[in-house]
């Protein structure tokens, strides 16, 4: 094994002195000599010198001057930090939705062709929206649930528009991990509560889109929408 | 020494983990029938005659509903068609040819450099023509289904009458191997669905085997080249491993 003292690297200026101690202690590596071939100050010495120069060396050795300078350093540092933040923010914000994405605003849906008991899926902002025409029985089921039976308590009335209670309109994305639940087509499984069933992890929603079973933490959200006529809505 | 059992246990565990973690490829219910594929195994190659018959079936049956958007007519060289044959196949269809001098879209006969013509201009048209169901693109279908070629073959031969206790949705067919057993595609192949020019008897099983061979080729046209290259590379690596190990033994002989 190569011993330290005849190491190949008598250049402490090249490698930081910090590694020197550790390497020397282990007896090898990162290559530093313990022998100094000239009275050149080591890295640590230089650091110490420069620090002391900036702290005391200029003019006033008094405490007052030091604290003023400390304050100035603090303010300068804070200003630099604010400046850096101002540069970084545009980069961060550039990752938020851009104008063209935001502009894909609204979708109009004609409700006329949707029979009672049927639902359709429309795409809004890249998300599927379930528009479902509920039967009388389904409306009653949704309204009769007591809030204490719900893990995310919400009345049915809060989730539909007054006077249009046969229409339930929800974002068709499971609140668990973003899958699209089944149940819009009559041939789909709808789960025990007659609403929607998520095939990914088995969450079940009722006819008001409220979670009734499974890992989903919240009800299917209701997107912003308005009735333009009795048979036409605008989402977004 | 405890080293050896530990190493063995670990390797066993690692392999076990690998196998356990690999996606289960078998369909959940019915066991897929075993078929002897020409392209199976480390030395497998495509049975080109079978693939050509399969292409005939694709042309006459599948392509009425299914697209194969990743393929070009020129690719048919891979199943042994000659340049003249490929030109003829391509020219037999009309493809969109840009616009004429008045800006109106025109059609022209296909060329070898054209994509396979799709039966429908878009997904909506395909759905509308097929009772709401979308016939999937067949380019990589063999890779896109659990069970691969075996599954596709099983699907072709798996049509049957539904069990008495099963309620079928309107317009759906019963298939033993389709997940859920209700498939929107009517049985595509029967005995004698096509007339083979090479004298092969067009039984359902033969047709299924041929069309799946064609689909397997379409999904993995590089398979033969890949396996042949693999054999050579592994032989080379075995030799290199042997040599390296010999050098290692020699170098370490004075340490042990």
């Amino acid at each position: 094994m190569r011993s330290v003292s005849d190491g190949p690297f008598p250049h402490e200026w090249l490698l930081a002195g910090g590694a020197e101690g550790a390497a020397a202690a282990r007896g090898h590596v990162w290559t530093v000599a313990t022998r100094r071939n000239q009275p050149r100050p080591g890295f640590e010495d230089m650091m110490a010198t420069s620090l002391s120069a900036s702290d005391h060396g200029v003019s006033s050795p008094h405490g007052e001057g030091t604290s003023k300078r400390d304050f100035l350093k603090l303010v300068t540092g804070a200003a630099a930090l604010v400046g850096t933040g101002a540069i970084v923010w545009p980069l961060i914000d550039s990752m938020n939705p851009s104008q063209d994405v935001l502009a894909l605003g609204s979708v109009e849906v004609n409700l006329e062709p949707i029979q009672a008991g049927m639902g359709i899926t429309v795409l809004w902002r890249g998300k599927p929206i379930f528009v479902r025409h509920r039967t009388e029985k389904e409306i009653k089921e949704a309204e009769d649930v007591s809030l204490s039976a719900l893990s995310d308590p919400e009345t049915d009335a809060a989730r539909v528009k007054a006077g249009h209670t046969q229409w339930i309109i929800v974002v068709g994305i499971c609140t668990h991990l973003g899958c699209v639940p089944l149940g819009n087509k009559p041939s789909d499984p709808r789960g025990e509560w007659g609403g929607w069933f998520c095939p990914c992890h088995g969450s079940q929603y009722d006819t008001s889109g409220r979670v009734r079973h499974g890992p989903a933490p919240a009800n299917l959200p209701v997107p912003p929408y308005a009735f333009q006529t009795d048979t036409k809505i605008k989402i977004g | 020494m405890r080293r050896i059992p530990l190493a063995r246990l670990f390797i066993g565990a690692a392999l076990g983990g690998l196998l356990a973690a690999a996606p289960a490829r078998a369909a959940d219910d019915a066991k897929l029938p075993k078929v002897e594929w020409s392209f199976a195994g480390p030395f497998g190659t495509y049975d080109l005659a079978s693939a050509q018959r399969g292409f005939l079936i694709y042309q006459q049956v599948c392509s009425n509903c299914h697209s194969m958007n990743q393929l070009y007519y020129r690719n048919l060289e891979g199943i042994g068609l000659s340049e003249e044959q490929i030109k003829a196949v391509a020219a037999s269809v009309q493809v969109p040819g840009g616009v004429d001098d008045n800006g109106q879209p025109i059609q022209r006969p296909g060329r070898p450099a054209d994509h396979f013509r799709a039966p429908f201009p878009n997904d909506q048209a395909a759905r509308a023509a097929n009772g709401g169901a979308l016939p999937p693109d067949q380019s990589v279908l063999e890779l896109a289904r659990e069970g691969g070629a075996d599954y596709l073959y099983a699907l072709m031969v798996g049509y049957a009458d539904p069990p008495a206790d099963m309620k079928m949705q309107p317009g759906m067919m019963y298939n033993k191997y389709f997940p859920g057993h209700q498939i929107a595609m009517p049985q595509p192949l029967q005995d004698g669905s096509v007339q083979y020019t090479d004298g092969t008897k067009p039984t359902l099983e033969q047709e299924a085997k041929d069309v799946v061979t064609f689909l397997a080729w379409a999904a993995e046209p590089e398979l033969v080249e890949r396996k042949q290259m693999g054999v050579k590379i592994i032989l080379f690596l075995l030799l290199l491993t042997g040599l390296t190990y010999a050098v290692k033994r020699k170098l370490w002989s004075d340490v042990h």
């Binding site: 094994m1 190949p8 290559t31 668990h176 973003g178 699209v180 | 996606p23 190990y245 290692k248 004075d254």
Partner: protein, 422 residues
């Protein structure tokens, strides 16, 4: 002349460079004469193997990027074009695709090695923590890479994983929107994932450099877990371990080639050959095999936020591992109880992987919860307690001395042959 390095190299060009920038001396010290414990077993190959896997990934990735198009309308087709029309494109893509699996296999064995032989213990804590950073970066890179082909599993995997951040209260939703650059996984998401997938490997290279630098400060651990006491305990890295690593690399390449040439899609998911469709969720969303154990932990917790925290916690706990293990003895060879527990942990993680591949129903839920419990029990309870209670076996005096007085694997006290400085 003052300041020039005294080079020992004879070749005039090498010498000219080396006197000005002693990179050759550095290589000689770090990979040539570097004193390495003489008793490594083949588990010590896996660091070098990881390095090889990483370079293969970077090289193949650069060439793939020349033909890949990060656009939702074109990504799937561009990958198929690589497979069909680009010369040897199928080879480059299959090497890259399976390279991810090989990289993870190798790194997991490397981590197990560190765990079993106590390589994380003082003074190698920082070395270990840098390794955990590499693992995290690898997972991020692999996840984003899996999104790029824009198949069904790409899309839904991205949706499920990015949605994890929505579990955090208040800021969760904004974070997810920010990650997506929209209101769902879409073109902006694909673009940024491609950008980051290209960037992160070079960050990994930088951290690997620190990992190796830290290794060369402390020196390597070894199967006995005791420090070398002198030259008789070590061998120069070259040629002894360069050739031993070469043997491992050859075996690694054989396994790798078998996968690439004969079963390139064995570890993949068929659903990823179906183009992404935001309107159709696959019946089952599973990540790549190397992420399955974490996925199992996520799904074992009934509470969404809890699951997410546990999943992140399962990796973050590795950061504090050096301080959780209270035993001063490194190698499991001399820790009979720890040895059983750590082997059980390996089985536990494999079981978690299996659970992650299955729908969380029936007894899979129970098994998943038990396995998750053991995972955390091992790190948070068993390690600190066993370290205090366990009676370790007697440690050998030195690497070259016979183990426990009996005939060990190495001739007792045989001095290492003095090596030429090659």
């Amino acid at each position: 002349m003052v300041g020039l390095h005294k080079s020992e190299f004879k070749n005039p060009l090498v010498r000219w460079i080396d006197t000005r920038l002693p990179v050759f001396t550095m290589m000689q010290n770090e990979y040539g004469s570097f004193p390495t414990p003489r008793n490594f077993n083949y588990f010590w190959n896996f660091g070098a193997l990881a390095m090889v896997a990483m370079m293969i990934m970077i090289i193949t990735g650069i060439f793939l990027a020349m033909n890949y198009v990060p656009n939702t309308a074109l990504a799937f087709d561009s990958v198929e074009r690589i497979m069909r029309d680009v010369n040897y494109g199928w080879l480059i893509r299959y090497v890259h695709m399976n390279g991810a699996s090989m990289f993870f296999i190798v790194v997991y064995i490397h981590i197990f090695r560190g765990l079993y032989y106590g390589s994380y213990k003082t003074p190698r804590e920082l070395l270990w923590m840098l390794g955990v950073v590499i693992l995290l970066l690898m997972m991020m890179t692999a996840f984003m890479g899996y999104v790029l082909p824009w198949g069904q599993m790409s899309y839904w995997g991205a949706t499920v994983i990015t949605n994890l951040f929505s579990a955090f209260p208040i800021v969760g939703k904004s974070i997810v929107t920010w990650l997506w650059g929209g209101f769902s996984v879409d073109n902006p998401t694909l673009n940024r994932f491609f950008s980051l997938h290209y960037l992160l490997p070079f960050v990994i290279v930088a951290v690997v450099f620190l990992h190796v630098a830290a290794l060369h400060i402390t020196g390597s651990n070894n199967p006995l877990g005791i420090e070398p006491k002198g030259p008789q305990d070590t061998l120069p890295f070259h040629p002894y371990y360069t050739v031993k690593d070469s043997v491992g690399i050859c075996v690694f390449l054989i396994v790798y080639a078998a996968l690439v040439f004969f079963a390139p899609n064995f570890l993949g998911n068929p659903d990823n050959y179906i183009p992404a469709n935001p309107m159709v969720t696959p019946a089952e969303i599973v990540p790549e095999w190397y992420l399955l154990p974490y996925y199992a932990i996520l799904r074992s917790v009934p509470n969404k936020l809890g699951g997410v925290l546990m999943m992140f916690g399962s990796i973050l706990v590795l950061f504090v591992l050096p301080w959780l293990d209270t035993s001063p003895v490194r190698s499991a060879r001399f820790r009979p109880i720890f040895r059983q527990l750590v082997l059980l942990l390996v089985i536990d993680v494999i079981v978690l992987g299996d659970v992650g591949a299955h729908r969380p129903e029936g007894w899979w839920v129970v098994v998943g919860r038990l396995a998750t419990t053991y995972y955390f029990l091992f790190f948070l309870v068993l390690l600190p307690v066993v370290g205090k209670l366990e009676r370790p076996l007697k440690l050998p005096d030195s690497i070259s001395k016979p183990v426990l007085g009996g005939g060990g694997p190495l001739p007792g006290g045989a001095p290492a042959k003095p090596m030429e400085k090659a």
